[in-house]
């Protein structure tokens, strides 16, 4: 099955490659006017788990395969995971803002919009690293309780300062 798929993808690649060359030859002048996705290079990671061209073509296979193993067999800690992709590739822009998955600035969406391929991962998965997630929605009575404690401690210190 896998061999068949590999053969299939190889032949598709050859086809796509020759088609692309043909298109390039015909419309060499139009290339400059053709919009191309702007893809952010991650600043922190030195290199990806696989070479760039391999990841561009086959990233979905890496994620899909281990998705089922993780979900049903509890196998974690494999190098390829959606969360790891996101951790490196999704970074705040110059303004310090993270572009959400609906934006074309998002690492995944940049190509997916360009290639017109719908992306469903982020209906359930977070589109940004966990450290950038705004947890206001997760404000619970528990957190409120802790906040009140912190506030009380702060006011106590202030009143003490006032006495001194």
């Amino acid at each position: 099955m896998n061999r068949f798929l590999r053969q299939l993808t190889t032949s598709t690649r050859v086809l796509a490659g020759s088609a692309l060359t043909a298109v390039m030859l015909i419309s060499a002048n139009a290339v400059a006017e053709t919009p191309f996705p702007t893809i952010n290079e991650p600043s922190k990671a030195e290199k990806c788990i696989q070479p760039e061209d391999e990841m561009r073509r086959n990233h979905m296979n890496y994620i899909l395969h281990e998705r089922d193993e993780t979900m049903h067999e509890g196998i974690r800690g494999e190098p390829s995971s959606l969360a790891n992709c996101i951790d490196c590739h999704v970074e705040p822009n110059e303004k310090g803002e993270i572009a959400g998955i609906e934006s074309e600035e998002h690492f995944c969406n940049a190509c997916h919009v360009y290639a017109s391929v719908q992306i469903d991962c982020f209906q359930c998965h977070a589109d940004r690293p966990q450290k950038f997630i705004d947890r206001k929605g997760g404000e619970t009575a528990h957190i409120k309780h802790k906040l009140q404690e912190a506030l009380a401690a702060a006011t106590e210190t202030e009143s003490e300062k006032g006495v001194k």
């Binding site: 619970t140 802790k146 106590e156």
Partner: protein, 276 residues
């Protein structure tokens, strides 16, 4: 010689009043420390790593499986809840769960009956005696789970180590499992969700329920609800391996027993209760 004798005495006399004086600021320090503690605990990652470092694996209270190995039926994860220790009106476990899985703020347009709850507090009343018990109700992680039985796509399944889960990749949102569950443990996501937690990816159009914090368990931790209950010193919940006779949960079950809810359904639940 005399100097040597005096030294410790001096130290003692100096430290004694200090204790008295420092009382106020120590309390302040403790409350600050508590706040700082929650900050570091919030992402949940640190808890896992410390839990692993402690390596309490052999006693069956935590998972010692290598993450590259498949889960097996050698383990069966379960919970034991002592309703006598579960205070009426306390929602520490519910709050911890909502926080862990990011459940709040994801259903502002939904009616109360539609809102997601992995765990909820219920009060049971024995009609013949009038005895009331307050207990947390969650997915009972049945061995022969009705949700998995009825699922048309195989999205609802029970993992080899006894944790009932929904594979949202293949869930079509038919909600058959919600109807089949005798404990009303499942919820349906009606709204678009953003900013999901790493441990709990969830989205519109799928059914969800308590995962027994499966990511935590796999990483050698304990479920968020049990952790919160223990941290707040209620100690009403025990987590552990039901298949390991040395685990705290098995020992406690052997000593005092534990009931299933709706035992007539013969589902062999992984969550057991005491003091009903």
């Amino acid at each position: 010689m005399s100097d040597n004798k005096l030294m410790p005495q001096d130290n003692l006399s100096a430290s004694a009043p200090e204790h008295g004086l420092e009382n106020g600021s120590r309390r302040e320090f403790l409350s600050k420390a508590a706040v700082a503690g929650t900050v570091t605990i919030a992402p949940g990652v640190f808890l896992h790593s410390t839990a692993r470092a402690a390596d309490m694996a052999s006693n069956g209270n935590r998972s010692s499986r290598k993450l590259t190995d498949e889960v097996s039926s050698k383990n069966r994860w379960g919970m034991l809840i002592d309703t006598a220790k579960c205070a009426d009106g306390c929602t520490d476990c519910v709050d911890a769960c909502n926080e862990e899985h990011g459940l709040l703020g994801s259903h502002e347009h939904s009616a109360d009956t539609q809102k997601t709850q992995y765990i909820r507090k219920v009060t049971l009343k024995d009609k013949s005696t009038g005895h009331e018990s307050s207990l947390p109700m969650l997915c009972q992680h049945c061995e022969t789970a009705p949700c998995a039985d009825v699922c048309p796509t195989g999205a609802s399944f029970v993992r080899a180590d006894g944790i009932a889960l929904v594979d949202k990749h293949i869930c079509i949102g038919c909600r058959y499992c919600m109807m089949a569950c005798p404990y009303k443990a499942r919820s349906f996501v009606h709204e678009n969700i953003k900013n999901q937690t790493l441990s709990s990816p969830r989205g519109k159009g799928t059914v969800e329920s308590c995962t027994m914090c499966v990511t935590r368990i796999d990483n050698g931790g304990i479920p968020a609800c049990v952790e919160a209950c223990t941290k707040e010193n209620h100690n009403a919940m025990i987590f552990g391996d039901l298949n390991n006779p040395n685990s705290t949960i098995s020992q406690e079950l052997k000593r005092r027993g534990g009931k299933q809810l709706r035992p007539d359904l013969a589902l062999n639940t992984g969550v057991r209760y005491q003091g009903l």
